[in-house]
Subunit: 460 residues, 4 copies
């Protein structure tokens, strides 16, 4: 029997066979610990979290602070940071995938273990691109959980899905940079724990190379001139205490040392950041979706609900519906886990990382949110009127979140466009191959004495 | 040229040719008036309405009261009530359809003209089933707009999509009825204007005929023992000031005269109510969806947003997307208008009303909300990150509302099940027809001297 | 009760209420006659037709000739030609729609009544654009059914979905035109009854106006130099005896009098032809699809087939499936009938015919074939293994035909692109309207003393 | 870098990273050999194969015989048979998956390497369940490629998707069994190489256990009383020379030694057979679909086709379409390869093989054919009119085959039903888990002094 084939129990129930032998003992231990954490400490506190937030929206509630302290002590912090970073607790992308999915079962569980968006993406960015001094100042508090950060790229006046459009101006002025413009999204400044923004802006608008016009800088939240106009509600929720802000920046001054990797490196940084962040989103969505399916199955077999005298789950149509959910979600898991494995597999092959890695991430980013949105939608429907109330289940909020992720880090159409252009580039090689088929076919025709169809296509 | 072929302008732009000649001058005037009302008085006040609600959630805001007074004066009240009711302002179902769609362009515009859910359904119910004394007491204030009402059928503990499951108990006690149980949905009691609930409950649980066990009664909102536990948030919104309540009823006493149509008539009433209400929902969704498409087209051509150097609307993919939206929404309009025409056409043919009418309503109820949900979803996506914020457009709320309507008045699966069972009933007649084909085919085979395939199917 | 509300029986069962009052007594009579014809004379001869074709593929089988003679005698010929043509039997587009759908129930029934593709489109083209002499020579035999014709536009070497690409050369040479090039599609020349091709080609390649470069000419099938290379099988069928040819034209000479409407008028003619032809295709698909649904329902209730001990039609999942088919097909009928009504309604308003007419036809052309393909596909699936055999039912061939129509007269994407571009043109008017909303909103904000959100969008 | 990360070239281009390290050198060699075989020997002979079949439909054409001899010599025979059979050439399921996908690129390539359906499933069945004597007589010629076989389960008069319905009678009579009844499907007897049928029938109809009523027997094709009535055309094709037959069996006598595994073991055998067979179908579909996508990409970039002045592949809509195809096909590959890995992983764990194995196979069986049908359909559409002709590309036939596989080995609904019922069985465990959540939540509520929502759901 293969290695780890013995792994069982709910923590491992959804892990595909090809993943099991790749899990090292340390990872197995972490996955189980994360599972226990989510099941016993997080999910049962969901109502507490909501109740505490109702009183004080714009700060981490006491229960969150308590859980974070406890999780840190248990060694569950920052598991997302892959093993090749010296700051990492040591998991591979794939091993963390198993943790991240479980964390997704509770909307805020990732935050308790300091592996939530945008923190995880930001930490990885800082670990990857900062110098030691910057790391000491900005990365360490994030990893220790004593500060939190935001990522700010989107703007209200341009199509930032094409990042060359990012328009906020970052102008050198002596030892400082001065920033002017407007931003939207990026966590809410009203959250008092929020220490700084990692912000992309345009520092060299006249550079003939559009990929070198932008810089990424660190802007402390309390910098004068940096103002949050409002919190943006998204799909009906404030998403407090993180929130999504709308900002103005008027002559916001930061020291030159806050520029990451140097001026003009904005794109290199943006690309490095978004990959793992997108996968984390998708992994969490898997866990969310499992939770919704569990709720649907529970309802399907709840003896109180018997339309036309049958359990909801006794209707063949619902049996097929639940099966279809299961199959589609399992397929999404395969592509998402495959994307993390691709990152591990080509960890030391930059070229493949950029092609295979990028493509496998795009695959998850495009397919997973839309599929999960659809599945949770059907789960709600199986609950009837109670399926859409926020009081009866977490499904409506999980649904909205899945919908949001279809846009987060870029709309799916933009990613699809990229994948499609890469496919189209194969035309030359494919056409060569077909010319070879045609040449061989012609020679076979002669050899066999058969007259074969010569269509216009053959004249390639 | 056909009658009314000259009708033009945005108020009539979406009306199909077959509808135009059926619009009488009075209706044309009303449609134009409703259009002007929504465009000039409602949509531009959307921000005002939100601002006033923020301060005082559970009452009609001053701007709503002002608009209702003005609309009533202008003769725009109760247009939904079809002409065969003596209390009606005189439109046919089809003529009102043209108004209702326009009203849907602004989420709350129907309320300004007293044609909103559940009021419109309740008014029609009371007009249809109440005696004169009841009408004077309950119907008149609703039609005059001095009181509002709720409809209460759903319960937390049963599958009320099959109304035979409705379990709240209504027990005769002398000249009174005593009600006990729990309900969910039905507008929020905290809204001070809410005068009474039309409630379905079980009054004769032992009746061998399950369709005669229930009664529909009027329960004033201030009856002792009738308590609202909470407002239910639906898909992230409180939907204040109407809201959706969760209730307990403990020994709630109402006079016998509050029973509508008599004990045991609950089902006859429920079926009479739900038809037009479902159509009104669908008609409003058409207008909502037109609004979302307009917003999408506007964004597609907004010169500020140019991913990859092109307007969003210059991408062929988006051109096709917008086309698909247009085509699908137009198809939904056809089936919804056809449903209203079916109600008019068979107004005096009860049998056809029950078969063709029910089916055409089911068709709209099943297809329209899901289609509109999908279209608005894509419209949001075309806006990028701003598409999902509640501050930038009404789309997120319209999307949630369309999703909600997929459940309101029964989940689509329940309706589909009914349509499917009706189809299956045709099997006998179809099989007879095919037997006839086979018999004729056999005789033709002989006549032509051809051997034809005789498959098992032919042995019918 | 409305006019014609009494119409009943299977011939009228699927006609929407809004259509019934528009049917004149003569039309009602024809619809019933067509129904009886298809049910009693065509469907039961399907096996005979196949058997006779097996022996002699490339000619109208005797049974077809017999049926055509009989149908002509019964006055069922050419019903498709709308009443405003002097050669017309007198039906409106909408009245014929009711006939055409019924004809679709049997794949070749339209041919028995001389209303099949491409004959119907060709007859309409000749009736519309030919001079009297041409009509006498080419139109009369088609209408009398003594000759048949083909339409030839597609070419193997260009994207003819954009007709400006049509590349076959038509060169003036004295009193003659000389044609050179290659064509595909257009009925098979091997069918001995085929008299001539109506062909579009490029006669003036240097004309600065790309819409005036093409001409439409009549090419007799027996013209020297005009050769059929092969019959093209489409989706597994030869579609004999009509077929689809592949042709070469080498110095094919036709007299100048064979040019229709004059040189350079190719586009005007092409557009005039394709509209009604597309609708006829869609109408027939409705009838095909009804037939498939009947077969599915019959199987669902066939006592011989009981997986897991239940009739196929007792599975809730199949009940919902059949319901969904019914609903979607009924929606397709609404948009298709609406398109024919649009043609009638704006018959004398060229501008509206070009906008509303074109759009309503595009709607049917895009949505109907794809929907019918999907529905027939599911009907086959309900039959299990027997659903996909050509011996057990006509479904596989009807399915292939629906798929083919998704391409016939242009791929759906090309039509969708056109609809989308028309939608995008509304951006200006929509933006103006929103500016007005914003201006009014600002004035209301002042009047009510509320601060409203001013987002970038408001700065339009 | 991970093992095998260096593998490159088109033979390995589509293999996911997690698969690469699992490929042993021997497997890598076979994959490359199969790739070269298909590219150089099979695809260029597709026209030859068709030409030779036209003359003599019901026998393996000479070119097929030649290729089979050559392939056998090259050691490419029977690669599908997994390594745990002593007769196996030694590949794992996963290793063969990489070969099978490549074989799918040419419709008949599997047959050249003796790994085609139904032969591969039959060989595995015989290898698994036969005694040595039977193996010598029936298995050896199949493996050596000197005889071929059919599998016969479907019947015209029952719903054989539920195999308990299989009704053909197998009656003991001395040392013989006598078979009576009708069958459909199973390869065509007219193919002279066809030696025998493996047939399931009912041998003990009164057995109280419905799973022990059936037996599987070997029926030589030339047994008296065993008659093929006709070949069934499927979706427009004869599928010659394999074909699909319709049969009568009248007093067909076989010796008792032709019963496999003993009387009453029909179900055990059927289940053992269908798993790998289903996966092989799916694997081949992946390769077919890659071929169709290649053809689509080639057309998208063919300079001859420029609607509206752009390459087909320059339309953003087509760029997104091709991307979506790529993403969905890659996802299908993940689940199919995962299913083969599951079979390898749990090869020695019967219980897991039956649960995880069955489920992962069902996942592929349900999702892959429908997805591939859809993708090939869109590929055809990108080719315009030439996309649906059998002369211009193999796409129409590949499309029909994918559609057929949606039914082969049972309609997808039956499999989905099974998956759904398995999901529903989890309800108990899920409900227990939620009760635990609720109990913990209640205790936390007390601890934190918060009042939490107690909904009916909480009363589980």
């Amino acid at each position: 029997m293969s290695a780890n084939a013995h792994l069982s129990g709910p923590a491992f129930a959804h892990i595909p066979p090809w993943v099991l032998p790749k899990l090292r003992p340390m990872a197995i231990e972490k996955i189980q610990a994360v599972f226990d954490w989510v099941e016993n400490e997080c999910i049962p506190r969901e109502h507490i979290m909501e109740a505490q937030l109702e009183g004080n929206k714009w700060a981490r509630p006491p229960v969150m602070l308590e859980l974070r302290a406890k999780a840190k002590e248990k060694g569950l912090f920052n598991l997302f940071l892959p093993h090749h970073f010296k700051e990492s607790p040591g998991l591979t992308h794939l091993e963390y995938a198993c943790c991240a999915e479980i964390l997704g079962r509770c909307y805020w569980a990732s935050e308790t273990v300091n592996s939530h968006a945008p923190e995880s993406g930001n930490i990885e960015l800082l670990a990857k691109f900062c110098n030691d001094k910057q790391k000491e100042k900005w990365l360490r508090p994030l990893m220790e959980g004593t500060a939190s950060s935001a990522y700010s790229m989107t703007e209200p006046d341009v199509a930032a899905s094409d990042a060359t459009n990012v328009g906020i101006r970052i102008t050198k002025d002596g030892d400082e940079y001065v920033i002017n413009g407007r931003k939207i999204y990026g966590n809410c400044m009203w959250n008092k724990g929020l220490a700084f923004y990692i912000m992309m802006g345009c520092s060299d608008p006249e550079n003939p190379n559009p990929w070198e016009r932008h810089s990424t800088v660190i802007v402390p939240a309390d910098t004068p001139g940096f103002t949050q106009v409002r919190n943006l509600n998204v799909l009906g929720y404030s998403w407090a205490p993180e929130g999504h802000g709308e900002y103005t920046l008027e002559n916001v001054r930061i020291p030159a040392e806050n520029v990451i990797l140097g001026p003009g490196k904005g794109f290199a940084i943006a690309q490095g950041r978004l990959g793992p962040g997108r996968i984390h989103h998708c992994l969490r969505l898997l866990g969310q979706c499992e939770r919704a399916i569990e709720l649907a199955i529970m309802r399907c077999n709840d003896a109180r609900f018997k339309p036309r005298g049958k359990l909801i789950g006794e209707f063949d149509s619902n049996i097929e519906r639940v099966a279809q959910m299961r199959l589609e979600l399992d397929a999404m898991r395969q592509i998402t886990y495959n994307a993390t494995e691709t990152l591990d597999f080509y960890a030391h092959d930059d070229k493949m990382l950029k092609s295979a890695g990028k493509k496998s991430i795009a695959q998850a980013k495009i397919l997973v949110p839309a599929t999960v949105e659809k599945i949770i939608n059907e789960c709600m429907q199986l609950w009837g009127g109670q399926g859409v109330t926020n009081e009866h289940s977490p499904m409506p909020k999980l649904w909205a979140y899945a919908r949001f992720v279809r846009l987060a880090d870029g709309p799916d159409a933009a990613h699809r466009h990229q994948v499609g252009r890469d496919e189209m580039k194969k035309a030359g090689e494919i056409t060569e191959r077909h010319k070879k088929y045609n040449a061989l076919a012609a020679s076979f025709a002669e050899q066999y004495g058969e007259k074969i169809i010569t269509m216009p296509e053959d004249s390639l």
